[in-house]
């Protein structure tokens, strides 16, 4: 090293090559990424049908993220991890579809196109107050939504991402995020109302 065009870069590369560079990189990755494990697992739970699949997806997400940490330039760690997680889950759905295991592939990526048009109740009971539901019930209602709407609501209301971040994670324009949120929340509210009626 030394005489090249950019000695500090050469020096940096040399450091990255030895064991301590690698150690330092992994430590930095842990510091940056582990605080978001709850967020990653939460998103995984709403994407996958069961806990074991969600755990596997979360672990695979961290392994992939570490591999790509060198090329990672932002914007923020949380949406970056959630993007990777979503890719992991979608790849898993695609694999299952390819294996044609019908029970497992309810989770079609293009489910948006297969959803029957949701119809607004003609007489919205506007004077009725919304009744609180417990977490278990809300989780069940969310799980029943098609993925494009479910993931948008989860990223916004549970993972607390901005519209711009959601657009980046899902890979759609911000306008699509907005219309999916509006439609998804309306679907959720309709299911919620049914639940209110049944638990009187």
């Amino acid at each position: 090293m030394g005489g090249g065009t950019a000695p500090w870069i050469a020096r940096h590369d040399a450091m990255a090559d030895d064991g301590n560079g690698e150690r330092d990189r992994t430590r930095r990755f842990r510091d940056a990424a582990l605080p978001y494990l709850d967020d990653v697992f939460t998103f995984a739970r709403y994407l996958m049908r069961n806990v074991a699949d969600a755990e596997d997806a979360a672990q695979e997400c961290y392994l992939r993220a570490l591999r790509h940490f060198d090329s990672y330039r932002g914007p923020a760690v949380k949406p970056w991890l959630l993007t990777i997680l979503r890719n992991v889950c979608n790849a898993e759905f695609a694999r299952r579809r390819a294996q044609a295991a019908p029970a497992d592939c309810a989770e079609a990526d293009d489910a948006a196109d297969q959803v029957p048009m949701w119809q607004e109740p003609q007489a919205t009971p506007e004077t009725e107050m919304l009744r609180r539901l417990n977490g278990e019930t809300i989780r069940r209602l969310l799980a029943a939504l098609p993925q494009p709407f479910r993931e948008t609501i989860v990223l916004r209301d549970i993972n607390d991402l901005s519209y711009r971040e959601i657009a980046d994670v899902v890979g759609v324009p911000v306008g699509t995020v907005m219309s999916r949120l509006a439609r998804g929340r309306s679907m959720l509210r309709t299911a919620w109302r049914v639940e209110e009626g049944s638990t009187t």
Partner: protein, 262 residues
């Protein structure tokens, strides 16, 4: 604005994602449309009910151990040489035709750059530490007149404590931290669910008159100098919002002169 537009935009209003102009338009529509106004209230109530229900999931301990085990730290190499300055300078002496002056300026740039990068790394580490439960603030209050005196006597120079709550950045407290071997003050703010640490000290890196924003390990770091103090703001909010934050701090430190009496 018609009801079809409003049906989409009321969600952006609830989520605080509308700019002032659109928010005004939606609110004007809501003032004249009872149906849309009722929907807004209804969706607000649903969002509130979801927040109360706590729909987040904690990663099971077993998963946490699995993930940590999958990210092993390679063993530290015994007596690993920190790439020594001797080698570095030696390289110049032997391998280059650079004049001493050029070499000196180059080294100066490298050293500064290194120091700033090191501080940026430490700032981000301090930010991450602060996010662990119970580490965020030593003095927790939204009252700037409580935070400011708390720093007095603990630091050579008390950092300015500015309340930006009205401007969307909630002051939540102050904390002492350690950066680059020095005790520094951090003024802690919240933006939605995001924490901003504003580290302030004398001589925290090279003086930087024009603000500079960089991404370090996925966090946005904005640094600038003002009146002999160095400011480092770090957060996971996006760079644009962090810039806005820095500008508001700077603006508050330099209030426009009062209008002349005449």
């Amino acid at each position: 604005m018609n009801c079809a537009d409003a049906e989409v935009l009321i969600h952006a209003l609830i989520d605080g994602e509308l700019d002032a102009g659109h928010a005004r338009d939606v609110e004007a529509h809501l003032a004249t449309c009872a149906g849309c106004a009722a929907k807004l209230a209804d969706f607000r109530a649903m969002r509130e009910a979801m927040a109360q229900a706590d729909l987040r999931e904690a990663a099971p301990a077993a998963l946490r151990s699995r993930v940590v085990a999958a990210l092993p730290l390679p063993p530290a190499r015994a007596a690993a040489p920190r790439r020594s300055w001797r080698t570095f300078f030696g390289g110049f002496a032997v391998g280059t035709m650079l004049s001493a002056a050029v070499a000196a300026s180059l080294v100066l740039a490298v050293v500064r750059n290194d120091q700033d990068q090191q501080i940026a790394g430490e700032v981000v580490s301090a930010h991450l530490r602060s996010l662990q439960a119970g580490h965020l603030t030593d003095v927790e209050t939204s009252d700037q007149h409580t935070v400011k005196p708390w720093f007095n006597g603990k630091l050579d120079v008390a950092p300015p404590v500015i309340d930006l709550t009205a401007q969307g950045f909630t002051l939540i407290g102050g904390r002492l931290d350690y950066i680059d071997g020095e005790t520094v003050g951090s003024v802690v703010y919240r933006r939605r669910a995001h924490v901003i640490n504003l580290f302030v000290a004398q001589h925290l890196g090279a003086e930087q008159r024009t603000p500079k924003t960089a991404t370090v390990q996925g966090f946005n770091v904005r640094r600038w100098s003002d009146n002999g103090l160095d400011f480092w703001a770090v957060s996971d909010i996006d760079a644009r919002e962090l810039d806005e934050f820095g500008q508001k701090i700077t603006a508050a430190l330099h209030p426009p002169p009062p209008p002349g009496h005449s």
